[in-house]
């Protein structure tokens, strides 16, 4: 095996991992606060991609600028889904929550199919064709910028959750909903904000990845599955776990593509999942009572 090829795989895997991390942080935030699994997570991300696509083709805005708009739009969508639907079933049996989110996922995916058709597409950005050479390996500039922005956003989210009052309230409600209610927290508002922020994460992640990853409406499903995988590996509800898990899974997929063949790359990340479940069943950073 060529060492350069392996180094190249490690590098591009880690760089792509930034997007995975941002995506998984959104899922784990929603789960941690509301104990609801967002089965529509990947489909929301695809909407982030198509928004970036429309902004790029209609208004000529580069996805590396428009990701902020996409995040804001998805925040609104998340808020709407939470207030209109999820809020009514927070106390319903788990299977009903799953059914609801599957319904939302079906609607989101197929509205995209109706609006944009089934063909794969990609957003053009001038950055996507630029490369940097670091000794023997090259760095795809688009991937580098995507990585840096994604990591910055994830850190900003961390700062929001740990340094601001609203963020602390969200964590309090996640830790102990009843306790938060007792001290007078508006838990409904916290839920809405958390769902909105979780959706905004995939809005931004979708826009950022749109110049790198060709996408179509059905991409949402595999992105949802990838986020589930990452969140179990990292530990459900753990932000740090989602961040590290995103990098790890992306690394595993990238190395899987190098050592085996690209169509087997998911097998690598799923094997990682099984290993983690065997030795650390609650995930890397998870607590036992998930």
């Amino acid at each position: 095996m060529d060492l350069t090829l392996v180094m190249q795989g490690v590098l591009s895997g880690l760089l792509f991992g930034g997007v995975y991390s941002l995506m998984a942080v959104g899922l784990t935030l929603i789960f941690g606060v509301m104990r609801v699994v967002n089965f529509a997570h990947g489909d929301m991300m695809v909407w982030g991609m198509y928004l970036a696509y429309m902004l790029a083709t209609r208004a000529g805005v580069d996805p590396y600028v428009s990701f902020l708009v996409c995040a804001a739009a998805l925040f609104a969508l998340g808020l709407l889904v939470q207030r209109g639907l999820v809020d009514r079933i927070v106390d319903a049996p788990h299977e009903m929550q799953i059914l609801l989110m599957l319904g939302v996922a079906l609607v989101l995916e197929n509205v995209a199919l109706l609006a944009f058709g089934p063909e794969p597409t990609r957003v053009r950005s001038p950055l996507a064709s630029a490369t940097l050479w670091l000794g023997p390996v090259f760095v795809d500039v688009a991937r580098l910028v995507t990585f840096l922005v994604a990591v910055t956003l994830t850190s900003a989210l961390g700062a929001f959750l740990y340094r601001t009052d609203l963020g602390r309230t969200i964590r309090a409600a996640a830790d102990n909903t009843y306790g938060a209610l007792v001290i007078g927290t508006d838990v409904r508002r916290v839920y809405a904000v958390a769902f909105g922020v979780g959706a905004a994460c995939v809005g931004a992640a979708g826009a950022l990845v749109s110049p790198i990853l060709p996408f179509q409406p059905s991409t949402g499903l595999s992105l949802s599955v990838a986020s589930f995988n990452i969140v179990i590996i990292g530990g459900m509800g753990s932000l740090l776990g989602a961040f590290v898990g995103g990098l790890l899974v992306s690394l595993a997929e990238s190395l899987g593509a190098v050592f085996l063949k690209p169509s087997l790359k998911e097998l690598f990340s799923f094997s990682l999942l099984i290993v983690i479940l065997l030795f650390r069943p609650a995930g890397l950073f998870g607590r036992r009572s998930a």
Binding site: L106, N110, L267, L277
Partner: protein
């Protein structure tokens, strides 16, 4: 109740005499999804362990019986049991990983999704299993090959499967096993404190459920004459399996059947009328809206609601 049930079964047995071939197909699908839903119901409903990857068992069962038939000439009537056994083995592995440390709730949901995807990716990459294109079964019309010229035979097999699974669910419900499962579903910690071996009974429920689902895989493969990894192992099939019992009422004996009688015709009819004219996905949007509506307006499932309504009417007439 007993008489109504017997009457219903007799009516279903007599029905093919008057059905058009399209209606016959529709009923075969209703029974088949009712069967899969009932199989899921044992672990997902009664035990409350929400497996969202049951397609994996359909795939393992279907591929096993097909390969045994193609390579060794083994009749699918035996192959379906081998397929069921392998599916049960996979169910035991997934259950072991998931239940061993008492990982519950959504952890298990995501674990089962991941396992179904592992199987899908693996099978898509094994050339001996046909890779991503899958396997095709040549139609001979030979009953020994699980193939029939007359569509009514598929009808009766599907009906028998659905009744069999319902009989098994009924037997579980009546026995101590069913009570243990209900206790585990409602409060696992309390059940364990009372001495219920939660791991053992969850494993048992998983094995029974995956065995039946694996048997269903053989029917699916030999009814469609073709197997593709994306169809047999894909998440969309897992979703089809779980939504019917949930809509009908998870953990109730007739929920999966009622759910299938509600959703299967709606899915087929909306596909027939909305899926045309290049309106890609319109029928799935309608389907999604329907699921959301069920959750908002029938949050306990259709069957408990129906039972209450019937009881109220019976009370009023008395």
């Amino acid at each position: 109740m007993k008489w109504a049930l017997a009457g219903g079964v007799v009516a279903l047995v007599a029905l093919p005499a008057v059905l058009s071939s399209y209606a016959l197909t529709l009923f075969i699908l209703i029974f088949f999804y009712g069967f899969l839903g009932q199989a899921w119901n044992i672990v997902g409903g009664y035990a409350g362990q929400l497996s969202a990857g049951h397609a994996a068992f359909v795939g393992v069962g279907g591929y096993t019986a097909t390969m045994l038939s193609i390579e060794l000439g083994l009749t699918p009537w035996v192959g379906m049991l081998v397929g069921g056994a392998l599916a049960a083995l996979l169910g035991a592995i997934i259950g072991y990983l998931g239940f061993r440390f008492g990982l519950r709730g959504f952890y298990f949901v995501l674990l089962t999704v991941a396992f179904a995807e592992i199987c899908r990716v693996a099978v898509s990459n094994i050339d001996a299993l046909g890779g991503p294109l899958g396997l095709y079964i040549t139609f001979t019309g030979n009953p020994r090959q699980f193939q029939f010229q007359d569509g009514r035979v598929y009808y009766y097999i599907a009906l028998a499967l659905m009744l069999l699974a319902t009989l098994i669910a009924w037997a579980i419900e009546r026995r101590r096993f069913g009570v243990y499962l209900a206790a585990i579903r409602e409060d696992e910690a309390a059940a364990e404190a009372l001495g219920v071996n939660a791991f053992k009974y969850k494993m048992l429920a998983m094995v029974v459920s995956s065995f039946l689902t694996g048997v269903g895989g053989t029917f699916y493969a030999f009814y469609l004459f073709s197997l593709q990894p994306n169809t047999l192992f894909g998440i969309p099939l897992s979703v089809e399996i779980i939504i019917r019992p949930i809509v009908g009422g998870a953990g109730t004996l007739f929920g999966p059947i009622l759910g299938s009688f509600i959703l299967t015709p709606l899915a087929e009819i909306s596909r027939r009328y909305l899926g045309q004219g290049g309106l890609y996905g319109a029928h799935l949007i309608a389907y999604g809206v329907l699921l959301i509506g069920v959750v908002l307006f029938l949050p306990e499932g259709a069957y408990p609601r129906l039972r209450r309504a019937l009881a109220r009417r019976a009370g009023a007439t008395r």
